[in-house]
Amino acid sequence: MCGIAGILYFDSDEAASPVGRALTTMSQCLQHRGADSAGVAIFSAPTARPSLQVILPQGIPLPEPQFIDTLAPGRLSGLREIRDGFAATISPLANSNDRRIDLTSSLEKGLPGSVVTSLGYSMSVYKTVGLVERLFPTIAPLTGTHGIAHLRLATESKIDPAHAQPFWGRPYADVAVTHNGHITNYHKLRKKMEARGLTFASQNDSEIIGILIGEQLATGQRLSAALEAVIPTLDGSFSFIVATSQGLGVARDRFATKPLLFVETDELLAIASEQQALHRLLNENIKIQEIQPKEFRTWEKA
């Protein structure tokens, strides 16, 4: 059991919609579904250059900027401290058509135990161990266009910020997934993906979903086509929400044992594991719909 939620404001050209506030309200209602760790990914107007976020192991102080620069010479600027780590802006790539930005391995090797949790032009990921309320001071004021949240009840892998969701679909920019369920063919899939040169930040089965979707998106497909290609390869139970710079996508497995509900109005789309989150965000009289077994849907910006 985990709690997942998503919010998308359809008319948000200014990227000034209260995404952080909406995710705060919904994740508070879903807290009882998992209290081991929590996280949100918030999308706002894209910046000219991508940024990345790194989480350091507990108790390790922020390294000196000069040291970080030795790990990625000339590639990082605007270094700033974030919760449990740092964020930085990435300098332009030599080949701007290449969506894969391989700074992650040099940073993670140079800072043992650290994990790059987010990379993109419009995505920021915030994670914590324990209750989601620890994130509220940081995320509640944040505005943007859309975002996703996760409340984790850990079953198999470790409990630390790196294993908290949402997972970045590394190495693909601006892809994040929040998943409730268990991908039973994870090890099989991971082995094949590692043979294709992909790397993983955790031992958590949920991480694989975002990477598989990112791989499809990198070939130029739209999100709906990417989901259509990825879903048949997944075995096990899943209700997940994927967020990209284009919008949100959702999917449920054929037995639909993990809940997923949504409300769509002219102004917004809200998705959550349980109806209370949707009622608290909107009101008691909204029309709630359920994502059907085997169904996947996307809400993409034009």
Binding site: P259, E274, Q275, Q276, H279, E284, I288, E290
Partner: protein, 235 residues
Amino acid sequence: MGESLKTLDCASLSIREINVFLKEAAVHGPDTAVTIINPDSRHNIAVGITQPLDILVQGNVGYYCAGLCDGLTVKITGDTGWGLAENMMSGTITVLGCAGSSAGATMRGGRLVIQKDTGSRCGIAMKGGTIVVGGNTGYMTGFMMQKGNIVVCGDAGEAFGDSLYEGKLFVRGNVRSLGSDAVESDLTPDDIEMLALAIADANVDASPEQFRKIVSGKKLYNFNTKEREIWKLAL
């Protein structure tokens, strides 16, 4: 409504406090009536109440509402989460809105009326009583059902009546697909009478003759090596 009226505001109460209040109210006899306000889609409201009580819930409830109960009369004005009236023994539960998955799971008796739609696995492993759905129902409705009636006034999802042992399913709209070993049968005069009551409960404009009846083909009762295809499909 009963003689003794009580209002229970859930806003400042824990679920345990709510259920203790209801259990104590039920002790006062079958004429006691409680109105629940501010249910706030919370889980486990009115669970484990085994003496008759008249409950009106104003609003939406979460999971497992009115589960493990016996002899309750419940009316819920909003929607419910999954596991509604799970293992109900007797009583009448009416939902004016929609219900989530597994409504009436393992129910043994009584009457469950959902005036709008319901999710997957409605009436799974049902062992008695009647479920009436005014709208559409999700996939695997009546999965492994053993006794009782399920009446769907709208459309039914995939695998309708999958692997049912006994009991009857009735559907007025389209069926996306019948489940393994679910077969169509003819309506009897008793069925027509039962359907007329169900239609009235569901508050829909329909007539009993518009319904199709689905029962068990009983081919899954015994293993037959010559019918391997059926077993391949059965879950």
